[in-house]
Amino acid sequence: MKPISLNQISPPNRSLPDTILDSARAVILGKDRELRLALACLLARGHLLIEDLPGVGKTTLAHLLARLLGLDYARIQFTSDLLPADVIGVSVYDRAAESFRFHPGPIFSQLVLADEINRATPKAQSALLEAMEERQVTVEGETRPLPEPFFVIGTQNPLFQVGTFPLPESQLDRFLMRIRLGYPDAEQEKRLLAGEDRRIMVARQAPALTNAQLLTLQQQVTEIHAAHPIIDYVHAILQFTRSSDRFVYGLSPRAGLGILRAAKAWALLADRNYVLPEDVQAVLPACAVHRLVGGEAGQRIGEDEIATFILKHVPLSV
């Protein structure tokens, strides 16, 4: 059995992901599970979509993760008049050099916060989403790689708000997870109100990881062992969503790969080097629901119930 060698990069007894989570918990109160999912998503090299009402801490979470993971950070505020060039960058004629020079846009950052992504027009959205998938952008015939690591954290408002352009399913599929923050419970909210400004707290956080350490952790996620029963289980889940008459179309193979990858990251956060079925169950709501929403047939079930519905119908024998 090959143990994960976390000890070389963290103090004994406390794994590196745990120290990150501890720091994050001090800033964002009462959202332990969401923080864990967000971190797992990034360790699984996935992009994260945070969907909620304004003011529940979406931006703070994105900013906090950037700080803790030691990533350089850019924020794009998506508005209805945002142009692709505002995201990617633009070539400007340099009179002195007598040539065009490329001015890279905010997307050339390790962590890009795409704020209120559903406020922009589909054209601007797709500029970002293509970059997310390919991890490179092509401007005027020249292909430029994006930095490594590269994360996008998108935030969006609930669709019933005025002035939104909902992301199409194909583009939602590119986010590994979608999480919701929701209001904090009473006690945590009182602590929040009594505490100091979150923005200052975020700015005070020291990076807990170097880029090399982050890449190592990402590598370790891929080395987590998923035994045959786990593969069988994930496959049964995919099959169920495809054969159930609740959904017009089921989860894609990419979704399956994503679920497995997220479950591995979840196992890593639990300091385990193999995946349990419970890991799959833990990440399934975040990984699957946004890919199935809108594709339901017959009577609509609430978004929150979709994951429960799936898990209740896929038996598990191990």
Binding site: A227, I230, E278, Q281, V318
Partner: protein, 668 residues
């Protein structure tokens, strides 16, 4: 394990595999060296040395052109050594040479796989030469080795290579066993070989010949091989009656006895006729291959097995030469009187060579004057051997042109053939018809196996004289020699007061006793192997069919074989199909764990994972915390970890043995 995808097979073989393959081929081919011409062996040795050097220094491996040259040289070598490239010896030499050459051409994994498969052929070939149990066991081990190598070559099992690969190979071989057994029992045996592989050449087997000259039998006596095994239906006769009859010799040319050219008379007057004075005894013999048609039987055989007959000389003859071990049943009359032979045969038994000396005639005339009957004269002759200073020795002095005369009057030391030969001559001089019988005397009892063993060293020659009114009477002049004059250098023993002497090892010491029991045990194993495996013949197959009620059905055997093979294949297929639903040991253990908890009122939810379930149980029933967490600590890493250890399964099984949670109500 079996569901793991095979690793991508890279095309260049690694040095360890090449070494393993080379050693496997070497070890598999080693027993064959005994049968190959020395030139072939030398060439093979050269190729192996080059191969082993090539492992360290790749430069040593010859290039394509040199390999072509080596191939030609190897073929020429085979031709030169055996004068042929076909047949058992020629073909084997060519195959082994080419296989060794292939070892110099292991460029890809495909080459390795091919060579490993050819090793299987190398194993099969050896059974043309030797079918003994030890070799079979050895080659069986080699076959498992070849399977293991193939497993490794086809992707292997990852890190823990040698032990788990061997385990897989053994389990694969065991899985093949039922089909092998079915084919062994049912594959049609040929009663006669369809093709000749030159198997009936008398290579290496030293056995009795159909003539006798001085020194012929003493050669056999130093041969330690088994001649045949006997199992008597009732108590074996006394050892001095164990005269195993072989060829009968009529003609003497002055030096050499031979069967002679006596033709069978057409009138049938000389067909064997025998008067019995006691019930014949029945026994079964398993004769080692002799490449002759002779079958040995006790004096005198009265009934012959189906595929044999009893000839004029009361010799049992098989219709086919005994090229492989032969089992047959005979009955013999120990107390008998043969019918009078015809006058022409009588005349044959009186023929004398032309080197009879006056001394010999004088001796006989002297006896005749003291004897009033033929039988009394025979007794005179035996008394002569006993009285005079005749020595019995394995190392007789060389005899010249007139061996009988020189032996009788000068050297006076010799072996059974000297005694038998000169005695028969003296009887003929006296006008008493006499002939020589070759065969074996005595038997060694194998208490472990419950049968008797007759060795080549038990070879013997004795005389039969024709006495009026009594027919042919057996006389053993060797038995007449005074025991005190037996050559001690040869380490001898006596079978009994009236028995002739026989040579054998000193059996007094404890060590030799132990060696003897080991030898008996080994022979018992060998006899069992012979009995159950090698002797399994077409006749046994038909007997089996008869018992199954398929005896009258022409293609019964083929139908049965096809049935057995398809049955085996469908069982395998079913097993493969069932495999998906068959729980692995770990799954079975987990299912039992869940059953026990369900019985205690804690059923697992259908969609609940083991970890969740365990923690829920621990929350609901804190008294079970220790047991459940112990189970989970072993089960989870074993079930979901990357390298489950087989030991874990045993530990879990042990834990579950003591895991009988009581339901909460009863507890309370």
């Amino acid at each position: 394990m079996r569901k793991q995808p095979l690793c991508p097979v890279t095309e260049s073989p690694d040095a360890k595999q090449v070494l393993a393959l080379s050693l496997l081929v070497l070890a598999t081919g080693l027993p064959l060296v005994r049968y190959l011409h020395w030139q072939i062996n030398a060439f093979l040795l050269l190729l192996f040395v080059v191969r082993l050097f090539g492992l360290r220094w790749r430069m040593a491996i010859p290039g394509a052109w040199l390999r072509v040259l080596l191939t030609l040289a190897g073929t020429a070598n085979c031709l030169y050594a055996n004068h042929t490239l076909v047949g058992q010896d020629g073909g084997t030499a060519l195959f082994v040479t080419m296989l060794a050459l292939k070892l110099l051409e292991l460029n890809t994994r495909r080459d390795l796989r091919l060579t490993a498969i050819l090793t299987g052929f190398l194993i099969v070939i050896q059974f043309l030469f030797d079918q003994s149990l030890p070799l079979t066991i050895y080659l069986g081990a080699m076959a498992v080795g070849a399977v293991a190598l193939l497993v490794d070559l086809n992707g292997g099992l990852g890190d823990a290579r040698l032990r788990s690969t061997l385990r897989v190979a053994v389990s694969l071989s065991l899985q093949a066993l039922p089909l092998t057994l079915a084919l062994f029992v049912l594959f049609p045996r040929l009663t006669t070989p369809l093709w000749s592989l030159g198997l009936d050449s008398e290579q290496g087997t030293l056995g009795m010949s159909d003539s006798m000259e001085p020194g012929a039998i003493s050669e056999l006596v130093v041969n330690g091989e088994l001649a045949f095994r006997v199992r008597f239906d009732s108590t074996p006769p006394h050892s001095d009656q164990l005269y195993w009859r072989g060829p009968v010799l009529w003609e003497m040319d002055g030096r050499r006895w031979s069967p002679g050219s006596v033709t069978l008379p057409a009138d049938g007057a000389d067909n064997p006729k025998l008067e019995q004075f006691a019930n014949p005894i029945a026994y079964e013999i398993v004769l080692e291959p002799t490449h002759k048609t002779w079958l040995f039987a006790l004096d005198m055989p009265v009934t012959a097995p189906d595929d044999a007959s009893i000839n004029r000389d009361f010799q049992l003859l098989s219709r086919q030469p005994v090229n492989s071990a032969k089992r047959y049943r005979v009955r013999s009359a120990l107390d008998y009187r043969t019918a009078e032979p015809s006058a022409s045969l009588r005349q044959q038994a009186l023929q004398l060579p032309d080197n009879i000396t006056p001394r010999m005639r004088g001796l006989v005339a002297d006896w005749r004057s003291h004897a009033d009957s033929d039988w009394a004269l025979v007794q005179q002759g035996l008394a002569f051997f006993n009285r005079e200073s005749f020595h019995y020795t394995l190392l007789p002095p060389k005899l010249g042109k007139n061996p009988a005369d020189e032996f009788l009057f000068e050297t006076r030391s010799g072996f059974c053939e000297h005694y038998a030969s000169s005695f028969a001559l003296l009887m003929r001089i006296a006008g008493i018809p006499a002939r020589i019988v070759l065969g074996y005397l005595g038997a060694e009892t194998n208490r472990i196996g419950g049968y008797q063993m007759v060795w080549q060293s038990d070879a013997h020659a004795w005389v039969e004289v024709l006495i009026a009114g009594r027919g042919w009477v057996r006389v053993d002049p060797t038995a007449a020699v005074d025991p005190s004059r037996i050559d001690n250098r040869s380490a001898t023993r006596l079978l009994g007061a009236a028995s002739p002497v026989r040579f054998s090892l000193d059996q007094a010491s404890a060590v030799s006793q132990f060696v003897r029991s080991l030898r008996l045990l080994a022979d018992t194993l060998d006899a069992t192997w012979q009995n159950w495996v090698l002797d399994f013949s077409a006749a046994d197959q038909f007997a089996l069919l008869d018992r199954l009620g398929l005896g009258d059905f022409e293609y019964g055997l083929a139908v049965l074989m096809v049935l057995a093979v398809s049955l085996t294949l469908s069982v395998i297929l079913l097993a493969l199909m069932r495999d998906r639903s068959t729980p692995e040991p770990l799954d079975a253990l987990y299912a039992r764990f869940c059953q026990r908890l369900a019985a205690a009122g804690l059923p697992r939810r259908e969609t609940e994972g083991s970890s969740d379930f365990g923690h829920r149980v621990m929350r609901q029933r804190p008294d079970l915390t220790a047991a459940v967490s112990r189970f989970l600590a072993l089960y989870l890493p074993a079930r979901f970890g990357s390298h489950p250890r087989p030991a874990t399964i045993r530990l879990l099984a042990l834990q579950l043995l003591g895991f009988h949670p009581k339901s909460a109500k009863r507890n309370a």
